[in-house]
């Protein structure tokens, strides 16, 4: 066992019979999870997975999967969590990360099963470096702006460091995928604080509403798109969700309209903006006042600065680097987040990704600003704004709207344009307006704006 992580098992052992995972199909105590970890370590031993091994596995909220994850970290392996909402295909992930072992969840036996016939590729120099130190790691994929997902390599000890300070955790409803920084961070905050993870088993609003009510979930980490879906689905009226004390949201810009509807629907609940990235995780944040989109980062071990309107972060828990792309580090370990921010004292407001900015005839337009204005309209359920190539202006604004009641395009167009008057500069008013017949968010509960034409 990597001695630097003994604190982790000792911590988990303290919680004994407390439930670690609550789901409609099973309850798993901390003790069960630690027992399962011995099986997982035996399995890894048998399959010769040790320091320097790069191990991809189906990352689920189940005992065998979580125990394998724990075993990988403790044995000094490089863990590569994979889910069906991953930004890569399994094959692509295996190739980029140089995977040596691939474990799949076998539903009939409820076990993690090693897949055969996998030639071991030569290790990436950064992975070989960790192996020499006997340090485990973690690879998380992030969608790159160029199309190829980037593999971000973290050292297990540094990644886990921020969980070392014991903080009591709440009963947390988690649907965020475990191959994603927000999912991993939420999982580890909960487990290292003796909290319970409530997993609804399915991702539909009904299952989520019911799980919150039945298991009395207190904390809901989420994204704005996901919250919008919950609001629209009516689960807040159908189920008793009064156990919720805190809702956190991140990954996207929060539309003020969604925020105020949440405040009305759940008056007793604290709403907290999170800010995180695959490259450095999620530092603790504090919202300026309840229901504000302004927040500040106040975590120990995280520093921030703003250069040319862009937020830079430096942290002890930052990744080692990418395996397949140039590192985003500036001098002295500062990371360029690519997020355009507005500042007020030490508070930030994220305007959007610089890469999402749409240049309309030389004027900067952020999709989120346009979406916020459109979301205030009657009969509009959800909105997605993107840039569209235009030979005259470079880019123009295209908006896809999901409606509650049918409406003709001509009528909607007139309404949109008159609604935007005085609320948006002319270049930000949508030129192309379309009506959607599908959901505007993807399996990671984030809007998919990259459908650029």
């Amino acid at each position: 066992m990597t001695s630097s992580l003994t604190w982790l098992t000792e911590r988990l052992r303290q919680f004994e019979d407390r439930p670690a995972i609550l789901s409609p199909s099973a309850t798993l105590a901390y003790r069960d999870l630690l027992d399962a970890r011995f099986d997982a370590e035996a399995l890894l031993e048998r399959d010769a997975a040790g320091p320097g091994s790069v191990v991809l596995f189906d990352a689920e909220y189940t005992a065998p999967s979580l125990a394998l994850f724990l075993g990988l970290l403790l044995r000094g392996c490089i863990a590569v969590p994979f889910t069906r909402s991953s930004v890569t295909t399994r094959e692509q992930a295996m190739e980029i990360a140089g995977v040596t072992h691939d474990y799949r969840w076998h539903s009939q036996t409820g076990r993690m099963v090693l897949q055969d016939g996998h030639p071991a590729p030569p290790p990436h120099p950064r992975i070989a470096g960790l192996a020499r130190e006997g340090i485990g790691g973690l690879i998380i994929f992030t969608s790159g702006s160029t199309g190829t997902p980037k593999a971000s390599l973290h050292r297990a000890d540094r990644f886990l460091h921020k969980f070392r300070e014991a903080k009591p955790a709440l009963r947390t409803l988690l649907v965020l995928p475990l191959d994603h920084m927000a999912g991993l961070d939420s999982l580890l905050y909960a487990l290292t604080g003796g909290g319970s993870i409530v997993h609804p088993g399915a991702e539909n609003p009904d299952a989520i509403g019911s799980a919150i009510q039945v298991f009395q979930a207190e904390l809901l980490p989420s994204t704005p798109s996901f919250l919008n879906v919950l609001l629209l689905s009516g689960v807040f009226e159908q189920y008793d969700l009064s156990s919720l004390r805190i809702i956190t949201y991140g990954a996207e810009v929060m539309p003020p309209a969604t925020l105020s509807r949440l405040r009305e629907t759940l008056p007793g609940c604290r709403l907290i903006q999170k800010y995180g990235a695959t490259e450095f995780g999620s530092p603790p944040t504090r919202s300026r006042e309840d229901g504000s989109v302004w927040f500040r980062i106040h975590g120990k071990g995280f520093e921030t600065r703003v250069v040319d309107g862009i937020l830079w972060v430096r942290s002890e828990s930052s990744m080692v680097g990418y395996l397949n792309a140039d590192d985003p580090f500036g001098e002295d370990g500062w990371i360029n987040t690519g997020d355009q921010v507005e500042t007020d004292g030490d508070y930030f407001r994220v305007l959007g990704r610089r890469s999402e900015m749409i240049n309309v005839g030389g004027q900067k337009v952020y999709p989120a600003d346009v979406e916020n204005v459109l979301l205030q309209m009657d009969n509009v359920e959800d909105v997605m704004v993107r840039g569209e190539q235009n030979p005259l202006l470079g880019k123009t604004i295209a908006a896809t709207l999901r409606l509650r009641e049918p409406e003709t395009l001509a009528a909607l167009r007139t309404r949109v344009r008159s609604h935007c008057q005085g609320k948006l500069p002319r270049e930000a008013v949508p030129v192309r307006i379309e009506i959607a017949d599908e959901n505007l968010w993807n399996s990671r509960f984030k809007k998919t704006r990259n459908k650029e034409s």
């Binding site: 309309v360 235009n390 123009t396 001509a410 007139t414 270049e427 030129v431």
Partner: protein, 102 residues
């Protein structure tokens, strides 16, 4: 598909232009005619205005005549006589595209 008449297309273009002008509260010094300058020297619309109107015209033709025309591409931009200069010019350009597609 039967080719829409010149009159039908011209009416459609005029309505789209009128709609954009109404939205912007543009006051007309004289009634709109087929030859009123639309975009370019002395035109009623600026670049965002014309781009918006073009998309409206494309979408309306698609809805009413179930036909696809592409009015904002490099080909349209590179015409010796801009198809955007008047209602009449744009109508001709649309009819040209529709007959090519027919």
């Amino acid at each position: 598909m039967t080719q829409p008449s010149r009159e039908a297309i011209q009416t459609l273009v005029t309505q789209c232009l009128q709609e954009i002008l109404n939205q912007r509260g543009t006051e007309l010094s004289a009634p709109l005619t087929a030859d009123t300058p639309m975009f370019g020297t002395g035109g009623l619309l600026d670049s965002i205005g014309i781009v918006t109107m073009i998309v409206d015209v494309e979408q309306t033709i698609a809805a009413e005549f179930n036909a696809t025309v592409s009015l904002a591409d490099d080909r349209a931009m590179s015409q010796r006589n801009s198809p955007y200069r008047s209602i009449s010019a744009l109508t001709d350009y649309i009819l040209g595209q529709l007959s090519e597609g027919a």
